[in-house]
Amino acid sequence: MTDLPTPLEAARAKQLSAEFGLKGDEYDRVLTILGRTPSLTELGIFSVMWSEHCSYKSSRFWLKQLPTTAPWVIHGPGENAGVIAIGDGLAAVFKMESHNHPSFIEPYQGAATGVGGILRDVFTMGARPIANLNALRFGAPDAPRMKRVIDGVVRGIGGYGNCVGVPTVGGEVNFHPRYNGNPLVNAMTVGIAQADRIFLSAAAGVGNAVVYLGSKTGRDGIHGATMASTEFAADSEDKRPTVQVGDPFAEKLLIEACMELMATDAIVAIQDMGAAGLTSSSVEMAGKGGVGIELNMENVPQRETGMTAYEMMLSESQERMLMILKPGREAMAEAIFRKWELDFAIIGHLTDTGRIVIRHHGVVEADIELAPLESQAPLYQRPWVPTPKLPVLGAVPDPVGLKAALLTLVACPDLCSRRWIWDQYDSMVGGQTAKRPGAADAAVVRVEDHKRALAMTTDCTPRYCLADPEEGGKQAVAEAWRNITAVGALPLAITDNMNFGNPEKPEIMGQFAGAVMGIGAACRALDFPVVSGNVSLYNETEGRGILPTPAIGGVGVLEDVAQAIGLAMPAGHDLVLVGATQGWLGQSLWLREIAGREEGAPPPVDLVAERRNGDFVRAQILSGAVAACHDCSDGGLLVAVAEMAMASGIGAVLEAKGDHAFWYGEDQARYVLAVPAAAPVLAAAAAAGIPATRIGHSRGGDLVLPNGDAISILTLAAAHEATLPALMRDGA
């Protein structure tokens, strides 16, 4: 090395390092690694690479405890997305990622670029995206600005997904005041690839060209990654970087161009430019491959004039990728990208130095040894205190009766119809969506030119997680597994999106640790490993944390799409409840919405019962014995039956005897099946030692409660459908 970058003045460097979010001892480590004061570009690289967002410094210790393997797992965490084998030589590639902070600052663009980012994580691995899902958490609908946030987020998700032509097929929505200043936008993409044609990010081949693809670089979101890792303060308006604007049209072209190039043998490695853009992509690709990398910044396609190396390295402009090409394939690759009207530029090459060297017009702006940048990245085992267990709730009297409670519950924000949302999402594009939003517990999308289909869902019950992070973590995984089972699919693996508050607070770290333990236990018991995920910390506003929200995205497979069933039940069928009911009202929606209390321990998750009941239900579905199925979750048994009735437009006569705790308790591991005749299913359950009871049958246009009260399905549906449109009427 002949040239060294120009270091910052020492005092200035120290001050800037704090502004960029590096702690004192972290900055000292930078000095040790470099053996000198960093240049501005180097300081930028260290600060983003060592931000919470990129380094997982608070969470890595815990995440390592999650089970990540199974015979069908092809690539677990560590790649751009998880990869599992789904049969027929195919692989499903999927991941979920948060865009929480950007979505609060600018809801439309924040949500849109969240979708764009997760799509790139998936197609960068060679998979064509076939479905998007979104897990949303909003504040109280009447909180300041909240309608604008809801409106913008929904429009943004639709605007991006609809344009790129990937169907948005599912998701979930909760409302709670604890998200007032910090809504959560978690986006998930599922793609399909040939199992033997997966593209990875480890760079290889000294001398190989480093190629920049996609859109030009502007000054967007500089220091977005560090911003996403620090608590929101009232002055965050001033810290605001230039907001990233998504260009779904460019993304669509990028998908098609990548698919076309990936069909050739030209690519050595490829990675999207996500958080911390060119910095994280180049550092990670070279680091994983154990090679060095040299970039010439004047060759980076630029949207604005006068950009510095520092700005280009930290820019988070969207719709960009970095790729290592085999020698001699440059012209062919360039022709493909030009055809799709995208930028294509050779901006550097791989070296054998193990260093990243950034030059701008010949001047060295950064020169860092890669190994310590990664190996000496901070790793914290933050202090944590376990969340105290809450007492099990005692008996609660029923103040209103079953019927009134049902009308209230089906209309409450957490249970009302999400139609207003999914009506803005194209869920059919691609021509493979067999179960769209609202039709089944999990969305079902067939693989083009195959019978095989994927089932997918996102789940988490944050109020359970707050009350008991470990049970809540288990429950989130169990519900995802159940939702996939309920359509007849075999659950295979999950992605997770861990949304929590400030990890420097021991109680918050305790929530995180508890959730990881619960998720891990459930994944192990259900053979449902974690193959990808994302952590979003510091979700607080003015010191108040969000509800702990470990969102789980699950994927399962059906060998034949014809086997998939949904919620809609035909008339004249018996309704069978599978699973034991104790009448658990602690943390239930009935307790919150009807009794006005948020109390008690949440329902315990018996993983053995989950597995046994679910395997039984799936076998029944695959044998063709079940016409419709719904799991019992929020709102309990009666809400589950009501949802089936509304989905089919057919009523039910309920005969099982039980009080409000029986009908509204949220005991886990339960399913309602609509079957032509109960007897054979009950006999099979009895033989397998599984609790099952006939609770009634489908008939007519009313839901007739055991006490004789009847509610017409039309009345129920009207209440269910009215809530969101009314909330959003003058929302925008």
Partner: protein, 79 residues
């Protein structure tokens, strides 16, 4: 009176529309096209007859509703 509110993407903020239009114009054989930016023009008919008050009202509307101040800037002209 009439107020004309022009809302444009802020400098430095990506304008995908402008980019695509510039591209298309060049593709259709128009030469010498540089940067293209696309904004909105909102024409408001106001009952207000005092130009200064109309100006102030329209600016208030732009700030509160017509422009997204995170990514857009605006200009008001009253005639």
């Amino acid at each position: 009176m009439k107020a004309y509110v022009t809302v444009m993407p802020k400098n430095g903020v990506l304008d995908p529309q402008g980019k695509a239009i510039g591209h298309a114009l060049t593709g259709h054989g128009f030469a010498g096209i540089g940067e293209v930016r696309v904004g909105k023009l909102i024409e408001l008919e106001l009952a207000e007859t005092d130009p200064a008050k109309a100006q102030a009202a329209a600016e208030d509307m732009a700030r509160k509703l017509l422009a997204n101040m995170v990514i857009e800037s605006f200009k008001v002209e009253v005639r």
